[in-house]
Amino acid sequence: MSDSVDVIVVGAGPAGSCAAIVAARAGLSVVLLERGPFAGSKNMYGGVIYARMLDELIPKWWEQAPIQRWVTRRSTMLLTDTQALTVDFRTDAWGEAPYNGATAYRPDFDNWLAGHAEAAGAQLLTSTTVTGLLRDSAGSNRTGAIVGVRTDRPAGDLRARGVIACDGVNSLLAKEAGLYEHTDAKHFTLGVKETLALPKEVIDERFGVRDREGVDIEIIGGTGMINGGGFVYTNLDTVAVGVVLKLSKLAAQSLRPEQVIAGLKANHAIAPLIEGGEVKEYSAHLIPEAGLEMMPKMTANGMLVAGDAAALCLAAGIWLEGVNFAIASGMYAGETAVDAIRAGDVSARGLAGYQKRMRTTFVLKDHRKLRRAPALVLSDRVQHLYPAMVANVAERMFRVDNPQPKPGLRRIFAQERKRAGVRRRDLIRDAWTGFRSYG
């Protein structure tokens, strides 16, 4: 067995497997390294995958992907301790091919994708952790071209013409390559999730769905004094309940994340949905929240970075998307590596097409469009003032308080804004930021 290959892909998450599929199908020798005992074994997320990017790679993927339910109902919920205001949308269209979002277990989904990488000829090596980069001896230790990786195994160096780093959030490889200028706790949120077992019929009934139809509820508020958000997703016979929490606030409140989940689960708007569910799993994971603000350089001499490793996760309140960005960036990284290796130039310049490819597609376009959204959604006003204000407005609008005549919306709104202590100027500014981001 030769100790050098064309491409090493680090991390068998969606980014890594897609990169490996592309490179292996182009006929390159590919090794895919994963620290877990199998692909996906350590991976967690909320629960909704938007997989249209796979159309090209795995035609009719929806016929074989290990999917739990197709999301046909999507709710956005503003939550206070005692009130909930929900915008609920459902469509039959998302329950048919090519579908929109799907809930799936990541150990299943990632393992399935990695299987495609192996079928394409990539060699998947599990229980193997990459511990560092190998540099070209010509350059110095910090700047020489990257020519392989170091693993935690004896005689564990492996050389390659190109390395694709798909090692997830807080990427060791991107940092060691010096691609992150700065990262800070404030760039990350902590996602924690419980998976609760319930019989399928109970889930169908409580969430108003049938067969493979599923529900995605995104929640603003409900995380107490800690800025963040929540979600509830339906799988076939489990429900995922989770929160995304701002790290700095979490530390300041000295609360444990499971206490925050417990609070959300006890909320009257959520409790009836999950009552009696037995906790099957508890997991926690960092999310690169800050989007464009934290993104690293994505190419180095001999290396490309994709997926969460490149902070390509889009976390903007009512969106929490990372898998689709990982799939797309992994594919583009694979394609770029193939071209560069064929052209014989794997320097950062030879790999420059990668970034361009992403700028011209949704990968960076979405991020640019929503660049202000993460900060807005996690701001103290959106977190602690607006939910109560809006919910109070709704409560008074819908209340029939005879013999009092109905008050007008404008009056209620003005009163509630004052009561919540929101300055008009801030409200207008936030509304404008929101409009520019989401509009």
Binding site: M1, D3, V31, P37, F38, S41, P107, N111, Q123, L124, L125, T128, T151, D152, R153, P154, A155, G156, D157, L158
Partner: protein
């Protein structure tokens, strides 16, 4: 073929429902390491063998990556008893000098496979070994191994073992070496020898119910009051039910200490 290690593919204790976490048990890790050391000691190649489904191939690959030379998987047509597992293995490695096993398999194992194997191979046995040293090994069948195993009550037995022998070891007896990267890559592509044997369906007629401890016959400890004896007998069965003489008391430290010692005396732990 002279040194053999028997590895069983078992479900992970923490993820019993997810076969993808299936692996070999810590005891088998330990057995594999000692088999490799034994191979080095006796200058012999090591064969890894398992009786199990295709998913079990990956533990054989792990073994190949660690240095085993040959990997054999025996596929049976039905679930088989420990005696059948041993018979199948013995048929394939009839001329083995040293056979290494884990002491128990973690999925309901009773540690009987190694003893059955020793019987089937007409070999010596040293079971449940916790410490081991290799003596001089002029040839594969002339070396001596000194093995310590547990007896009950915390006693230890030291055995002198010669080939042919089956040795079963606890998980903590040895720490499995980590496979090198190149070896791992080679093993990932290696072929596994598969031997299929037809086994008769032998389904034990078996009813599964929720576990309840058997009502235990308990003698009252010496020198206790009649009341305590009645209480302990009616609370028999080990279930910490209401019938046991349970007490919650609020005491200051001095009284607490005194009360503990009185109670220990009552229960017969002190005289």
């Amino acid at each position: 073929m002279t040194v053999v290690v028997c590895l069983k593919w078992v479900h992970d204790a923490a993820q019993p429902d997810d076969v993808r976490f299936g692996a070999m048990s810590p005891a088998d890790h330990s057995a594999l390491e000692l088999a490799l050391q034994c191979g080095e000691w006796a200058h012999a190649d090591v064969t890894a063998i398992t009786v199990g489904p295709a998913q079990a191939d990956h533990i054989l690959r792990d073994a190949l990556a660690c240095g085993v030379r040959r990997a054999v998987r025996i596929e049976t047509s039905h679930a088989v008893s420990g005696a059948d597992v041993a018979a199948a293995i013995a048929a394939v490695v009839a001329d083995a000098h040293w056979v290494w096993c884990g002491d128990y398999s973690i999925d309901n194992g009773s540690g009987s496979v190694p003893a059955f194997l020793a019987a089937a191979l007409a070999a010596r046995q040293a079971l449940g070994v916790i410490h081991l040293s290799f003596g001089d090994a002029p040839t594969i069948d002339a070396g001596v191994i000194e093995a310590t195993r547990r007896l009950d009550g915390g006693r230890r037995e030291v055995l002198e073992v010669r080939a042919p022998a089956v040795v079963s070891v606890e998980g903590a007896t040895a720490h499995l070496r980590r496979a090198g990267l190149t070896a791992l890559r080679t093993a990932a592509a290696a072929a596994i020898e598969v031997i299929r044997i037809a086994t008769p369906t032998r389904v034990d007629d078996c009813v599964v119910q929720q576990y309840r401890p058997r009502a235990r016959e308990l003698a009252g400890p010496d020198g206790v009051s009649a009341l305590a004896r009645v209480l302990s007998l009616t609370g028999a069965g080990g279930a910490r039910g209401a019938a046991s003489a349970r007490r919650t008391v609020v005491l200051d430290p001095l009284d607490a200490a005194g009360r503990i010692l009185t109670e220990l005396r009552e229960w017969g732990y002190r005289t």
